[in-house]
Amino acid sequence: MKFEGRAWVFGDGISTDHITPGRYFHLRSDLKELAKHVLEDARADFASKVRPGDIVVGGRNFGQGSSREHAPTVIKLAGVQAIVAKSVARIFFRNCINIGLPVIMCDTSDIQEGDILSIDLKEGVLGDKTQGLRLVFPLLPDIMTRILSDGGLVNHVKKHGDFNLGA
């Protein structure tokens, strides 16, 4: 999987409360409406300015906090095609893969807002075309690659009838 997109840069420790604040708890069964507030407490204008194909870039421990899968889901619904961060909290990481949203970890220090990024998931390479950077990231474990390439966990289980861990 290869794709390109424009970077939105966030800092360290973006929590699921930044992404989907508790005051919108009642919108969790109306994800399109909830997505209008995506990342609102990190950046109030994000939801109105994000465009399909954009890439969210974070710092350390992106997605820390609650298990709410609504958080990566509304990021995906907003049109974001991948999340890149220095590190990603455990549950959030797994949730991204389960909903079919690519998530990768590498040193994002030099990526600037608006940079055009190219990502090659198979090769584990992120290019920042604007800065002329080439960053290498670790490939996903096999099981996660399978789930992601099947389009998420529900599709994975529907396709195989079970988990497919491979050999």
């Binding site: 708890f25 906090g65 298990s67 455990r90 949730n95 079970d162």
Partner: protein
């Protein structure tokens, strides 16, 4: 080579010896969802098209986050979950029964079991020596259908507890100290395992507080060995036959060791807006900070011993006129215990407001949302920006003792002055 607690439990659930770093399919004993994550889990379960739950009597559904519901959308989510339980035979815990983690501890979880829950603080169950961890709705939905899930067996950080806690210092101070040392991502993808001579001094309610916050260091779980303390607690709940002793092998391999000397610990406070932003209560950034709302309770510190400690300080005293005091029992059982022990009377006479057993103000949905510029000191587990319903509010975290002393003074206070 020996095994850690996690390796032992997951080996039992995979049916063969497993080690840190391996990817496994493990049998799951319990799945859990709540009203915030449950509707999505149910919709994903339905999308799988499997029809039936793998084990309805081990699928637990809790209405605890919006409890009672403050608005129609959430009331409709509750109807949806009730109908799911009725149709599928899943176990429903109604509004007012309490927080999922507390009820799971009281009624269901046993040493050596695997629980996965659509709530990040599912790690609370590590106090029983259960592999108990939080996941998202889709993972839970699939486990509900298949009775299993995949894991990477986590490497383990060993936390060695020595010494004795001084007066005024409690389990909450221990875990806040540890999170401050490890950092909010210090144990990401790893397990915490507690050991050391001070284990026997920690009762189950203290262990539940510590395990509850393992995720705040990024950990997958926070496990205590199961021992006499575990047995006595289960026995008191009428579940003594669920006890199995588990301890790590002496030659188990750990990725890292951290030692905490209880005797040198002091009361701690986590400052806005991250849980690892921890200072001593006497630090100039903390002591004397004006507080408009104090919350004592939640799944972190909402058990009888937490309230008994707070009542020790609040007895015969009154909250500061500028500071609201909210009491949130973690379950109806705890609420009943507070009534029979006379603790509730102490709180009401101190000017406290009693909130329905459940998540209460901790999740920002109702029952104590903060106003602009307000500060709250809470015994809950998280202080992220916006957590309590308002990004313009600030949340500090402490023990019940520190919270009680602060409610009296209207500013963050050192509880040791009251003991």
């Amino acid at each position: 080579m020996g095994k850690t607690l996690v390796e032992k439990i997951l080996s039992l659930h995979e049916g063969k010896d497993v080690r840190a770093g391996e990817f496994i399919l493990a049998r799951v004993d319990w799945t859990l969802m709540q009203d915030g994550t449950g509707p999505l889990a149910v919709r994903q379960f339905e999308a799988l098209g499997k029809g039936k739950l793998a084990d309805p009597s081990h699928c637990l559904v809790f209405l605890d986050h919006a409890s009672p519901s403050p608005r129609r959308e959430l009331s409709n989510d509750h109807i949806f979950l009730r109908e799911f339980c009725k149709n599928q035979g899943a176990v429903l815990h109604e509004v007012g029964e309490g927080v999922c983690h507390q009820i799971t501890a009281e009624r269901y979880l046993s040493p050596g079991q695997v629980l996965i829950g659509a709530d990040s603080h599912t790690c609370t169950g590590g106090a029983f020596c259960a592999f108990s961890t939080g996941m998202g709705s889709t993972d839970i939905a699939v486990a509900m259908a298949l009775g299993k899930t995949w894991f990477m067996v986590p490497a383990t950080v060993r936390v060695i507890l020595n010494g004795r806690l001084p007066e005024g210092v409690t389990a909450k101070d221990v875990i806040l100290y540890l999170i401050g040392e490890l950092g909010a991502d210090g144990a990401t993808y790893q397990a915490l395992e507690f050991g050391g001579e001070a284990l026997e001094t920690l009762d189950m309610e203290s262990r539940l507080t510590i395990s509850n916050m393992a995720v705040e260091a990024g950990a997958k779980c926070g496990l205590f060995p199961s021992d006499e303390v575990t047995y006595q607690y289960l026995d008191k709940l009428g579940r003594g036959d669920a006890y199995t002793p588990f301890s790590p092998d002496p030659d188990a391999r750990y990725v890292r060791e951290v030692t905490i000397n209880f005797s040198a610990l002091t009361p701690r406070v986590a400052c806005p807006h991250t849980v690892d932003n921890v200072f001593e209560v006497t630090h100039e950034k903390v002591l004397g900070t004006p507080i408009q709302q104090v919350v004592i309770g939640t799944c972190t510190n909402g058990r009888l011993s937490d309230f008994t400690q707070a009542a020790r300080i609040l007895k015969g005293r009154h909250r500061h006129p500028d500071t609201r005091l909210l009491i949130v029992p973690s379950s109806r059982r705890v609420h009943e215990d507070l009534m029979t022990d006379g603790v509730l009377k102490v709180f009401i006479e101190a000017g406290a407001t009693l909130v329905t057993p459940g998540c209460g103000p901790c999740v920002g949905v109702h029952a104590g949302a903060l106003g602009d510029g307000e500060r709250c000191l809470s015994t809950q587990n998280r202080n992220f920006k916006g957590r309590m319903g308002n990004p313009e509010g600030e949340i500090y975290l402490s023990s019940p003792l520190t919270a009680a002393a602060s409610a009296i003074e209207g500013k963050i206070a050192d509880p040791r002055a009251y003991l």
